[in-house]
Amino acid sequence: MSFRKASVLPGFGLTFGFTTFFLSAIVLLPLAALVLSAASMHWSDFVRVVSSPRALGSYRLSFGASLLAATINVVFGFIIAWTLVRYEFPGRKIIDALIDMPFALPTAVSGIALTTVFAQNGWIGRYLEPLGVKVAYTWLGVTLALTLISMPFAVRAVQPALQEVQHDLEEAAETLGAGRLYIFWRIILPTVLPALLTGFTLAFARAVGEYGSVIFIAGNLPMKTEITPLLIVIHLEEFDYQGAAALGVVMLAISFVILLAINLLQAWGRRRHVRAAH
């Protein structure tokens, strides 16, 4: 069996070798080191660390808030992308550039800024306070921070897909008698669904790994507003490298399972189409 396939660019051997090396050195080796480090623990110690109530609470918060943030971003990211793609209005270019701001900002700055706004005496927080809504130092704040920093991923993933939806398709559907909602559900959404899933995946992955912005707004109460990455740092500060590695491995495993599930879902969607074709 040969990997080779005719290509315009020569040098398959070189590029494939480089790819393998690069992936190994940058991604696989560190991950392996992490797993090895955790594996040097005794099994019962491992279980104790990763299933302590504090750890369980942090998983719930980390993954729950990340999934929620990714979901919010898919919905609002779609709306933002739609606005940017479909409408011409003054300031469109500026808004388009603003989308990427969370990329450029050090995440700690985002965290501090959010805290300033949403703290009890902050610009918005002071009006939410009488309503009984607390954002800073609660899970809401965590979700908010994660939504902010992962928003560009959702928008940027959906934008090109929306650009590709031909206006003709909507017009064709219209002449065939379809109303706006029908066109949205049957024509536009199916066309951009893969991009939406990609956006969700990217936003989710980014949110799970986030640390800098969250620790400022979360308040970091054990069991309540403590995210897993913070718990790992706490272990590190106590020189408990193995404990940190153990938590890291669990995060890795959960993230991997979720991302794999989304990928499989996409592959299944594609296969369904191809199967329908035969």
Binding site: A172, A173, E174, L176, G179, H273, A277
Partner: protein
């Protein structure tokens, strides 16, 4: 009538893309909208489909006014150039789309789908995805999809544009067969005249947003009414010719007799169309079987299979001004096509001198043939001939400007000094004393006179008025010709003396409607109408001063009181005025 368009107008950014189009398309008719890109044909189709609104006018489908009805409720089927199939759906789902929207039951849907797939010869393709089909097959699916909900009207927007020649041919036949079988009224938009000829019951030709002519393909080809149609629909040689009591004279030689003869009419200049296949070449004059025009030299010989194309440069001595020949590339070589048979009879080489004869000459009914820039000195006349509006008109009408020097232009009773009568449209620059100079020329035989301010650009609105019924028909004909060559809207300004009262008002409205229907029926001119009361010159001046970029076309029958009534309109040279003088004793 299946489709009725009434003065449909659509602007984009102030520019009329579809300009006053009125059209009736009959039940079961296959109608082709033909025009160059940017002529507004696709916009018109989209307006019929309801995908783009109109700024003015009405659209009816089977007697139902749908001007303000949404596309999804119009009951039309539309096929796009790029198919616009739903890529995430199978062929079956694509075709059933309109049926699902209408909540048809699954069994009925399946049955209808099978019917449609048979119709477009795609049986068994139900479960394919569009990406797995060829371009031709995809377009068949698109046609089936557009027919699924049994629309009353099928609209096709350049449906063959993305296909190669062979598939195109095949799909053309399929669509024509389907159309005949269902008897569905169909409108096809294309820029390909061959396609239009092959498919159409009737063709409508559009240019610059206007529907210029409508007719059966062979009618339009044999007897075009406008320069654009003559040169767009097949190749054509355009000549400046004379209509004399004996018939049509091209290059001083009488060509057509018969139908073209109009005894009694004064001699005047016309534009003649000669199709390339109506030109004959022979070794010498006596060998011609048609009327001899003159000698020429073969410039180019191109072999295209069944036909041979020649370009023949006429001798300088032939006094037949050739305005354009088909390709609109500015060259003035005569285009000739010959069959293999003619080729075998008389072979020609490049550089050979031949006798040229014309078999059939068709005269365009257009009243504007050529322009003559008239001024007191040659440099002034030359400068006038380069005035932007005039240059634009000349280019668009594929005609020419002659120069004429009249040193005593406008001076009392002085006679004309230049030789010859006035032919075509005479142009003078608007300076002081325009009314006096205009009268001077009109008294000396000028029929159509354009008074042109130096800065005038192509107008956006042409106001039309005539003083005296005898000038009505000629004014409408001239207006129609002008409006065809500038993308302006035409407005007939009816002015009645005195003050408005309800009786006079309704009388005035009736006259306006009469004028409008004559313009439409006889001259193919779509125009709006306005009703004013008061002094004619005053009202026209007021109306012209209201907006920039307007032009006036005014018909007159007599020159009594000319200077008084036209002083306000002409002096100051604020707008172009075209005076049409007819019916004067």
């Amino acid at each position: 009538m299946s489709i009725t368009l009434d003065q449909v107008t659509k602007h984009y950014g102030g520019v009329p893309v579809v300009n006053d189009v009125s059209l009736d398309i009959g039940d079961g008719e296959f109608f082709v909208l033909l025009g160059p890109s940017g002529s507004g044909k696709s916009t018109l189709l989209r307006a019929i489909a309801g995908l783009s609104g109109v700024d003015h006018g009405r659209i009816s489908l089977h007697g139902r006014d749908v001007t303000h009805v949404a596309a999804r409720k119009r009951g039309v089927g539309l096929v796009f150039q790029n198919y616009a199939l739903f890529h995430h759906m199978t062929v079956a789902d694509n075709i059933e789309f309109a049926l699902r929207v209408r909540h048809m039951r699954a069994r009925a849907r399946r049955q209808r789908r099978a019917e449609l797939l048979r119709l477009v010869a795609l049986e068994g393709m139900d479960n394919r995805l569009p990406a797995q089909l060829s371009g031709g097959q995809q377009q068949r699916v698109a046609v089936a999809r557009a027919l699924a909900h049994k629309p009353e009207v099928l609209l096709l927007d350049e449906p063959f544009g993305a296909l190669d020649a062979k598939i195109r041919e095949e799909l053309r036949r399929t669509i024509r067969e389907v159309q005949r079988e269902l008897g569905i009224t169909t409108v096809l938009v294309t820029h390909d005249q061959e396609e239009a000829f092959a498919m159409a019951d009737r063709i409508g030709i559009m240019n610059q947003g206007r529907l210029l002519e409508v007719g059966a393909p062979h009618e339009l080809y044999a007897r075009p009414a406008t320069r654009f149609v003559a040169t767009f629909l097949g190749a054509a040689n355009l000549f400046l010719a004379r209509r004399t009591p004996d018939g049509i004279q091209v290059g001083g030689k009488t060509m057509g007799g018969g139908a073209e003869r109009s005894p009694g009419a004064p001699e005047h200049e016309v534009v003649a169309v000669v199709r390339p296949e109506e030109v004959e070449v022979a070794a010498e004059r006596d060998a011609l079987s048609s009327r001899y025009l003159g000698h020429g030299v073969i410039d180019e010989v191109t072999f295209t299979g069944a036909l041979e194309r020649l370009r023949v440069r006429l001798d300088e001595a032939v006094p037949a001004p050739l305005l354009a020949s088909g390709d609109s590339d500015g060259s003035t070589a005569l285009q000739v096509t010959r069959t293999r048979l003619a080729h075998r009879g008389f072979e020609v080489r490049r550089g050979q001198s031949v006798a040229v004869g014309l078999r059939r000459v068709h005269v365009l009914p257009t009243p504007l043939s050529s322009f003559t820039a008239c001024a007191q000195s040659a440099p002034l006349a030359d400068a006038l001939s380069h005035q932007p509006l005039l240059a634009e008109l000349v280019a668009r009408m594929k005609t020419r400007v002659a120069l004429r020097v009249e040193p005593s232009l406008g001076v009392g009773d002085e006679p004309c000094q230049a030789q010859g009568e006035f032919f075509g449209t005479t142009v003078i620059a608007a300076e002081g004393d325009n009314a006096q100079r205009a009268e001077w020329l009109l008294r000396r035989g000028v029929k159509d006179l354009l008074v042109l301010p130096a800065h005038a650009a192509p107008p956006q609105r042409v106001l039309i008025h005539w003083m005296g019924e005898a000038a009505r028909s000629a004014t409408l004909a001239v207006s129609a010709s002008v409006v065809r060559h500038v993308s302006a809207e035409a407005v007939y300004v009816g002015i009645f003396p005195g003050r408005s009262d309800s009786e006079r008002h309704s009388h005035g409205m009736r006259e306006l409607l009469d004028a409008r229907s004559e313009a439409q029926a006889t001259h193919g001119l779509e125009m709006r109408t306005e009703l004013h009361f008061g002094d004619v010159a005053q009202e026209l001046t007021r109306r012209l001063a209201e907006a920039p970029a307007q032009m006036l076309i005014v018909g007159i029958t007599e020159l009594r009181h000319f200077a008084e009534s036209f002083r306000a309109l002409l002096d100051g040279g604020r707008w172009p005025v075209l005076i049409v003088q007819r019916g004067a004793a």
